[in-house]
């Protein structure tokens, strides 16, 4: 893969949570790149480490601790930055937050403070990062709200979160995220808490704004269908590791990793070709977070498990093509050649 046009490079990132009951390695050696203006989808079950990965990029991973690896961000203003080395409350990371990397959160109910108006909370980022005065900031907020299709934005700036619906709140969140025109946007399951029709609207707004502003997006979801609509590339995470990373069309056409295949098979289809077929269900549940399986972490649930290999040796990322990598022994050339 070329490193040109890269906005973000994550290398072998490891994030741990030290809890009383033991240490949880939420992110375990994750590497990926995000190109300018592209959309990278991240898919996984809850507990797969996708949200922690996203938060770590903004250094709001506490109480998690980065134990190894690096995050390189190519800031238009500051040049190449090693994000993992920054002080989490320092001035530099604070000037990156929202101005260059903004974030949309899952819960529209609680993402805004309950005691301040939308005008106050959104204009805050403009006053902070764009150094504009309050009146101008409010005018910009109205424009920003209008651009995401918020009805009557002049009224909304004087309203409080409890006064509007979840869908509208998520629109306001998008408006706030894009208010400073960031290079990159992290969308952490932005539509999970919404109903299906609202989800479609929000996705549409997001996709439209992404194209207009040419913002790079790290789009996190547990829903493969949603990701397929918006992403250029997809990476699939399982227990803190990336198991497959591929262009979205390739992945959907011919998933390589058994876990990806199982995820795809668990989506109900109404195509003619699938008529009468039973929906496949992945056996077992997510293992105990304090005791991950040895070898390939997916082997206890894997239908294609190779005894003596998968439960002993952790698979590397094997390149299937220039843009496609899989962490599975089935694609290791050495094992294949032994057969």
């Amino acid at each position: 893969m070329t490193t040109e046009n890269n906005l973000l490079e994550v290398k072998d990132l490891k994030v741990e949570f030290k809890l009383r009951q033991g240490t949880v390695t939420a992110v375990n050696g994750v590497s990926f790149q995000l190109k300018k203006g592209k959309v990278l989808g991240v898919v996984g079950e809850s507990g797969s480490g996708k949200s922690v990965t996203a938060r770590t990029l903004l250094r709001i991973e506490a109480p998690g601790i980065i134990t190894s690896g690096g995050i390189n961000f190519f800031s238009p203003k500051h040049g190449e930055l090693a994000i993992q080395k920054l002080n989490t409350t320092g001035e530099l990371i604070r000037s990156i937050r929202w101005k260059e990397i903004a974030m949309i959160f899952q819960e529209p109910m609680t993402s805004f403070g309950p005691m301040h108006t939308f005008g106050n909370q959104i204009s805050e980022v403009l006053i902070l990062h764009e150094k504009v005065n309050k009146a101008d900031a409010l005018q910009m907020v109205v424009e920003s709200l209008r651009s995401v299709g918020m009805p009557r934005p002049e009224k909304v700036i004087n309203q409080y979160p409890h006064q509007i619906s979840g869908g509208q709140r998520q629109r306001a969140m998008i408006a706030m995220a894009l208010a400073c025109n960031p290079e990159m946007l992290i969308a952490d399951e932005p539509t999970t808490a919404l109903d299906v029709s609202t989800e479609a609207q929000i996705l549409e707004v997001l996709a439209e704004r992404q194209k207009t502003l040419n913002t790079a997006i790290l789009y996190i979801s547990h829903n493969l269908g949603v990701v397929s609509n918006i992403a250029d590339e997809v990476m699939v995470m399982y227990l803190g590791q990336i198991v497959e990373h591929a262009p979205v069309d390739d992945l959907f056409r011919a998933p390589k990793h058994p876990y990806t295949a199982a995820l795809l098979n668990s989506i109900p289809r109404i195509d003619k070709a699938y008529e009468g077929q039973k929906l496949e269900v992945l056996s077992g549940g997510i293992p105990d977070p304090y005791n991950h399986p040895t070898g390939c972490k997916f082997h206890p649930r894997c239908p294609k498990v190779i005894k003596g290999v998968c439960d002993k040796i952790q698979p590397l990322q094997y390149a299937v093509s220039e843009t496609w990598s899989v962490a599975c022994h089935l694609y290791s050339t050495s094992i294949n050649s032994e057969k």
Partner: protein, 329 residues
């Protein structure tokens, strides 16, 4: 206007509470075995005054004791509303004038105490929550536990002893005897200020301890909420964002704490005043109860409850003004 509607609703509610409390107060007058007039007459006779049968009947009639309970209550309440609380046998004065004499000191002590409670517990609570499990947090918790465990009268005794042994401040009251009937002067004011700390500490300790715990718990709760992460992700300074968002949200339970803080405050005030001999309403109630001076007792309970209710109404209205979720429905 939702706010005005809300305030009217609360005012009506306050009136209702007042009715209930007045009924309770009157019940207290009525409950003792034998009515209070018999004990009054017994006392009169003890002091050598002869009370003939005729004047007894006249007295009974003038107090309406020959009428059914509900009628007596109605009359008493009617008179109370018009500012006539009856006659105190102990002070041989009108109850309202006995109470009014002590109202300024009561209000002053309560108001100062309330101020002290908020001024101490809010910053300490914020500190404890932000530095959870730090040495300071531990000390605050320890003090909190002690504040809740030491009975007010004991604290009053101990502080009185320390003040006397360590600082030579005369025991009890709000001023030294030599200033009793003097006009206001610098020396009198200083003397008064010297007397204030002990009662204030005794009154505020329990409430402060409880409020620190409330503040700490609510703020810890708020700090874990999504909107704090949002604010952090926006690039706000840590101290700015904490004061703007979670502390602001945690203030609501503090404002509505008036609901339990005020009755607690008047409780503490009563104890402190009895032990320290302060010229407030608490000791008046105590003396009235011990001496079966029931009109005085009822008047005291009514006044303390009215002060509480007024405080509650104020805290309700402040809460409605500050919280958009209540103000705008």
């Amino acid at each position: 206007m939702k706010l005005i509607k809300y305030i009217i609703k609360r005012l009506l509610w306050g009136t209702l509470v007042l009715l209930f409390v007045s009924f309770f107060s009157f019940l207290v007058i009525q409950l003792p075995p034998g009515d209070f007039l018999s004990s009054y007459i017994a006392r009169l006779e003890k002091s050598g005054m002869a009370v003939d049968n005729q004047s007894m009947v006249a007295l009974r009639h003038s107090y309406g004791l020959d009428q059914p309970f509900i009628v007596q209550y109605g009359k008493w309440f009617y008179r109370f509303v018009r500012g006539d609380m009856g006659v105190s046998f102990l002070y041989t004065k009108k109850v309202e004038s006995v109470i009014v004499e002590r109202l300024p000191a009561t209000l002053l002590l309560s108001f100062t105490s309330l101020l002290v409670i908020y001024l101490v517990s809010i910053p300490v609570g914020i500190y404890s929550a932000r530095r959870q499990y730090s040495v300071g947090d531990f000390l605050a918790s320890l003090l909190g536990f002690m504040g809740m465990a030491i009975p007010g009268f004991l604290l009053a005794l101990i502080l009185m002893w320390i003040a006397y042994q360590g600082f030579g401040i005369s025991i009890g009251g709000l001023q030294s005897p030599q200033f009793m009937d003097q006009p206001m002067s610098m020396a009198k004011a200083i003397d008064f200020m010297k007397h204030l700390p002990v009662p204030i500490i005794v009154i505020t300790v329990a409430g402060t301890a409880a409020l620190i715990r409330t503040m700490r718990a609510t703020l810890l709760d708020e700090l874990g909420k999504q909107y704090v992460t949002t604010a952090r992700a926006k690039g706000l300074k840590e101290s700015t964002l904490i004061h703007k968002y979670p502390v602001r949200a945690a203030m609501n339970p503090i404002i509505s704490s008036g609901g339990w803080l005020l009755p607690e405050l008047f409780s503490g005030e009563t104890i402190a005043a009895i032990v320290l001999g302060l010229p407030t309403i608490g000791p008046l109630l105590y003396r009235a109860l011990l001496g079966e001076d029931m009109y005085l007792a009822a008047g005291c309970i009514m006044i303390l409850s009215i002060l509480t209710i007024i405080g509650l109404l104020i805290s309700d209205i402040v809460l409605a003004i500050t919280d958009p979720r209540i103000r705008l429905g």
